[in-house]
């Protein structure tokens, strides 16, 4: 297997891996896995005032999956929360020269982020009843 410098660099020093301290507020979590693809991933996303302030991830998977998760974390910071539901997978795949046979793993990463996005909706729905289904967006607008 050949790895691009983009993969190698993020594999050696993944951005934003880990968790937030327990007491961190405004953190939502999304998780996805596929045993046959050999991937499990969990994102913790801290959103404040409709902006993604920080992202952390845990991952069991191949170097491309680690690099993809790391790259997405980097790109999400300081973006509107709705970005969690609007990752351009092709851009990610291209940035790390993702082999086609690994595309399924990227879809799992997307699933985990979408779960974050949904959780964010649920958590706002719980704390601020009557809010729109897309809280980050609603807040921004």
């Amino acid at each position: 297997m050949n790895y691009s410098p983009e993969v190698l660099q993020r594999f050696d020093l993944p951005q934003a891996d880990g968790v937030f301290p327990d007491e961190t507020e405004g953190v939502v979590r999304g998780e996805a896995e596929d045993r046959s693809l050999g991937i499990w991933v969990r994102f913790d996303v801290r959103v404040h005032e409709g902006l993604i302030r920080a992202v952390r991830f845990h991952l069991y998977g191949c170097p491309h999956a680690i690099a993809a998760a790391s790259l997405i974390c980097e790109r999400l910071e300081d973006q509107p929360a709705r970005s969690l539901s609007a990752i351009d997978l092709q851009v990610v795949a291209d940035s790390i020269d993702l082999p086609v046979e690994k595309y399924g793993k990227l879809l799992k990463i997307e699933d985990a982020l979408l779960e974050c996005w949904r959780s964010l909706g649920d958590s706002r729905a719980t704390s601020e009843p009557g809010n729109s289904r897309h809280p980050g967006e609603a807040k921004d607008s």
Partner: protein, 389 residues
């Protein structure tokens, strides 16, 4: 990473010993013994003599008669010749082949080729440590059994089969036995005449010799149908111009190999490695603790994804799954036979030491592997159980 990776993949292939390189180089240039060993002139005769000297050296290491040694292009060809050559030479209409699920691909794929030809094939299972017993062989043998083929040392997990007992069993039933000794010759004693083995595959490149040269031992009275046609070389059993430098290289390799000295030295390094890695939480040994070749250590690191493990350890040349097919994403058939899940098979590493491995290398490897395992486990913290079972 600019420094050369630490080489712990000696079961895949080895660096050629300087003395072997020198012997080979002497057979190449205009001032050397470059002539065709089949030529009738003086240079040809000299090359022929070198070939015969090499044959004696190869035979000596495995306690065989020199005229039983047939040079081939490697153990893959030897395995093919032993198996297909036996079946082609056997007159029976119903034919049966007995081997194990943990053989090298060159045996398993040849077994498959036999199946296509309507030969019945029995693939023996091994136990959780990788062992196949003489009793299993006995149970498998039928009146139609042409050949039993059992490897001496497994290339992935290093387990040693009890060839002596299996040979006795085969002899008691009058069935021919072939042994793939690609991984054992030079590292542990091989006593072909003493054990009564009929056919045995050997290769040079696992023992600090060149790649592309091997031999098949053929015991007296064992008839084989040649698989390469065209020339009287090697008593008509293997056509093709004899590659003097390769054969001389193999001869020197087998002359230099001293199982009684090299084996314990390699075992020391392997034990040091296992002691060091044993500190890693949850690490498991694949194979047998007691019946293992001295150069191979196969460990499972549960919870670490295989591909990431290999990339993390890019500064150590190791093997995951079989060396001969390690670009293959399939989990190793050997580890699966031991009962490992796909995930655990993928989380396994084969570390193999050689003549040029130093104790300091082992210390460094233990440290590096420990550090990377810790890092990747932290990254996968919270992963579900299937990732480590």
């Amino acid at each position: 990473m600019s420094a050369r990776p630490l080489y712990l993949d000696n079961a895949a292939t080895t660096a050629v010993d300087p003395a072997v390189i020198a012997a080979m180089t002497d057979c190449l240039g205009s001032d050397g013994n470059f002539e065709n060993p089949s030529s009738s002139h003086a240079g040809g005769a000299r090359a022929r003599q070198l070939v015969e000297d090499a044959r004696e050296r190869v035979a000596a290491l495995v306690n065989a008669a020199p005229n039983g040694i047939v040079f081939t292009s490697g153990a893959t060809e030897s395995n093919n010749l032993a198996i297909l050559g036996s079946f082609d030479a056997d007159p029976r209409a119903r034919q049966h082949f007995v081997t194990t699920r943990i053989e090298h691909h060159s045996v398993l794929d040849t077994a498959h080729a036999l199946q296509i030809r309507d030969v019945e094939v029995t693939l023996l299972d091994c136990d959780a440590e990788g062992i196949v017993t003489a009793g299993q062989v006995l149970d498998a043998i039928t009146d139609a059994t042409v050949l039993v083929s059992i490897m001496h040392v497994n290339n992935e997990i290093g387990v040693i089969q009890d060839i002596e007992a299996i040979a006795r069993t085969c002899a008691s039933r009058g069935v021919r036995l072939h042994v793939d000794a690609a991984q054992s010759a030079g590292k542990i004693p091989v006593d072909l005449s003493g054990w009564g083995v009929d056919l045995c595959s050997l290769t040079a490149h696992k023992a600090h010799g060149p790649k592309g040269i091997g031999a098949l031992y053929v015991a007296g009275g064992v008839t084989l149908a040649p698989q390469l046609h065209g020339g009287e070389q090697e008593r008509g059993l293997r056509a093709g111009t004899l590659a003097t430098h390769q054969i001389v290289g193999m001869g020197k390799t087998f002359e230099l190999a001293r199982p009684e000295r090299d084996g314990p030295r390699l075992a020391k390094l392997r034990d040091m490695l296992w002691r060091g890695l044993g500190e890693i939480d949850g690490i498991r040994l694949n194979g047998s603790r007691d019946r293992s070749a001295p150069h191979i250590l196969n460990v499972c690191l549960p919870g670490i994804e295989g591909e990431s493990l290999r990339l993390a350890l890019a500064d150590i040349a190791v093997s995951a799954g079989s060396a001969c097919a390690s670009d293959d994403p399939e989990p190793s058939h050997v580890l699966s036979s031991l009962g490992l899940s796909d995930a655990l098979a993928q989380s396994s590493l084969r570390l193999s030491v050689g003549r040029f491995t130093k104790p300091a290398d082992i210390e460094w490897a233990v440290e590096r592997i420990g550090a990377e395992v810790a890092r990747l486990r932290a990254l996968a913290n919270g992963a579900p159980a299937w990732c480590s079972t």
